[in-house]
Symmetry: C2
Subunit: 472 residues, 2 copies
């Protein structure tokens, strides 16, 4: 089906938003803010998309409060935009219809660590780094690591992923259970702590990735993993991007259980070396990590080194030193900020696609040509073991044609990925930025998403305008 | 919410079923059958539940035909029950409201093998063994192995699992994409071939496990895996069930990547030895398999052997001989038939639950006591690495109290599992057999399942009466 056209004029202000704010203030006093600075911080994520500010922000401190707030908004048909850390990348937290930003960042307790079962129950405002700090003494860790120190609630909502997904999966595979408040203000638990279940529709997976459009997440149960006995990180440099990508493909096809296999193009290596004070070889670079026993990680590293050598890979360097490893991965995580630092004053627009791995080389190489042909600056990094790669498109504000050209690059990259059997976003999500691509990708199936949204949120108060776009 | 009460009298015959059959016969001639034997074969799975026969069976041979049949039934509001191999265990294919059994077993082509991407596209009637035969030469395999040689469409519909799930996941993790015909007869594709995606609601995961209540699956895209360089199978015997279960728990907690870790209690070992002509030690037995490199599997086996020894496990025997391995696993797969052979003339009722692994020992041991206390015959087998175990309850037809006692055992085992944070079914599904337990397990969340069902199938024609029960 065709994507709904959003009206270019701003939608009407939600009719009862003032009385909603009045009632919220009665309940929560100065935990309700209408200050412009606070609204601005809540209406603008780290994406390039235009900000739409909520009419007010309320800071919830408990599940009961979330439920009370949603019930109030449901009664007054006032939009609610759940907010964690505001680090989303496609305008997920913007408020095109106004309404209330429901900030859950103060709900940041780790509720229960079940060491024996390798799971943990957290409130939605817990961030991924906070969680890993908290559980460190248990010998367990939570592997999902998007670039930002995002909240677990937000990561569940966007079906986030990161560098470890090739081995440990994404939020899709790692959320066992959710507690949610639905659009009509009911509190319920979805799923459970059993590792598998055939007990009815998979509501957990429906809410994971639903970007706050079906309800508010108030608790998340996550899988954890034992910190491996041995972790070995490695880098390998390639003159050609193709050699690097083919090494990835062959590694995956050989079933080598790499924990991480990341790509930086030369542009990215250059900026990361400067920003993070590293001295990585200035070539197309694979960054790898192997988890297992000492013998196992050694064996894995040797197998990948052999594959890399066949594809022109050299400078294979590996280390099990924790400090060196973490410095290298911090560099990788800072790649977007490094690109930003390389172009002071420019805007940053991060976008991602994901394709079946056999089409990865073609998709990246064509995109790289496209960048050059259009005179753009857009370093490429990728979670290439999953077939997922990112552009950090930098946008020169002083060049009136630049943004248009960047938009064209994004359009073409997505069309290319979809044509190659891929998806318009591997891990960033839809927000407001990728709605039109979503309709192209899913076609008729969008009508099911719209039916589900209407069934579960008939008044369209939950993060309206996201994923499926405006509802008539 | 409370489970809906099913009316004890048979529901009225679907009003337009006769004209539906007339129209189907015009289209498909003798591929439409109203013969009692054919209807009986399609209305009764291998469960203990009462049979409800469909009014007719139609054998579809293409996606276009499925679409035509569903459109016809949708127009006449006639129930449709999708049918693969009829090997479900909770009455999934019975027709309590009558209607048309839509048999897709003739849609049994492997459509496309994407070796480089480790995926395959199949029609729904392809069975798991047929698939593995077909792809054997590629060096790839599909790991999900429920006891029966079920159809892939049926396995997707029940979110099936098996002995390899601890390493490779269930159908939940291994279905990448579906082509489906919705209740109103539209054909659409859900998901895609990319390994991960944040592109909208996860409709694939919604349909996986929906037991034909939301639409008919006409094509399935599955993940495949490389056949490991080395596969080692092992057995280890324990005097106490507790020692065996604790070994499993410690193995999982240690992060040893076992491919299979299965439990048979002494009762099961005894029957399997007789039925499959094996000579397994007559104790509580763990059956294991390790996948990896030669060095890796050896290392894994030694680690588990050490853990087992600490828990009183002896007779640790291992082999990498393909023939011995497959004989052992065939014995495991035949466990239910072995139980049946041990009690000639008795009925068989298979049931399963799944709990967080720390509660596995308690749940199994209490259940074992319950079996003894009630004088029942119900061998226990388990995919214990997932916290999932099965009872093969045999029912003596000559003892009028036996079935009642078996029902009580099932009730208590499920209540116990749910009380311990588990689920009423790990892999068999809901069908008509577990509806009441489902409502207890999910509570308020059942209303979301009902809302989704109503939104996607407003006339309740798709496998009515299953999962959520009767709709008023």
């Amino acid at each position: 089906m065709a994507a709904p056209q959003s009206t270019h004029s701003a939608p009407a202000r939600a009719p009862n938003v003032d009385s909603t704010i009045t009632e919220l203030k009665k309940l929560y006093g100065d935990r309700v803010s209408t200050a412009h600075a606070v609204r601005e911080q809540h209406g603008k994520d780290i994406s390039y998309h235009e900000a739409h500010l909520p009419d007010a922000v309320v800071f919830a401190e408990s599940t009961e409060e979330v439920q009370e707030i949603v019930k109030l908004c449901a009664r007054l048909k006032t939009p609610i935009i759940p907010f964690g850390t505001g680090t989303s990348l496609e305008g997920h937290i913007s408020a095109p219809n106004g309404g209330i930003s429901l900030d859950v960042s103060r709900m940041n307790k780790v509720v229960q660590v079940n060491e024996a079962d390798l799971d943990v129950v957290v409130q939605p405002g817990v961030t991924r780094k906070q969680l890993n700090e908290y559980i460190r003494a248990t010998g367990l860790f939570f592997p999902i690591d998007p670039g930002a120190d995002a909240s677990i609630g937000g990561m569940a909502s966007t079906r986030a992923s990161g560098t470890n997904a090739v081995r440990y999966g994404t939020m899709r595979e790692n959320v066992l259970s959710l507690q949610v408040v639905t659009a009509d203000g009911r509190l319920m638990r979805l799923g459970g702590r059993a590792r598998k279940s055939s007990a009815g529709y998979d509501l957990v997976k429906l809410f994971v990735g639903s970007e706050g459009t079906l309800g508010v997440i108030t608790e998340v149960t996550l899988r954890l993993y034992g910190i491996p006995e041995s972790m070995v990180a490695a880098t390998c440099a390639f003159d050609s991007l193709e050699g690097a990508v083919n090494t990835v493909i062959q590694t995956i096809q050989s079933g080598i259980p790499v924990a991480r296999i990341e790509l930086m193009d030369t542009e990215t290596v250059d900026t990361v070396n400067k920003y993070s004070k590293l001295s990585l070889p200035n070539k197309n670079l694979l960054l790898l990590e192997f988890h297992g026993t000492e013998a196992g990680t050694k064996e894995q590293a040797e197998m990948v080194q052999a594959l890399a050598a066949e594809n022109g890979g050299g400078d294979f360097a590996w280390t099990s030193q924790a400090e060196e490893r973490s410095k290298m991965w911090q560099g990788r995580h800072d790649a977007a900020w490094a690109a930003k630092a390389a172009k002071p004053g420019w805007g940053m627009w991060a976008t991602d696609v994901c394709v079946p791995i056999s089409n990865l080389a073609e998709c990246i190489l064509e995109t790289q040509k496209d960048i050059v042909a259009n005179g753009l600056y857009a370093p490429i990094v990728g979670h290439v073991g999953d077939g997922n790669f990112h552009l950090t498109m930098m946008v020169n504000p002083d060049d009136p044609t630049y943004l248009k050209r960047a938009e064209g690059l994004n359009d073409r990259m997505i069309a290319r990925a979809q044509h190659l059997g891929g998806t318009c976003t591997g891990e960033h999500g839809v927000g407001i930025g990728k709605i039109k691509y979503l309709y192209k990708e899913h076609g008729e199936a969008m009508s099911l998403m719209r039916s589900i949204k209407k069934a579960l949120d008939p008044d369209n108060i939950m993060n309206p305008g996201k994923i499926i776009g405006p509802i008539n």
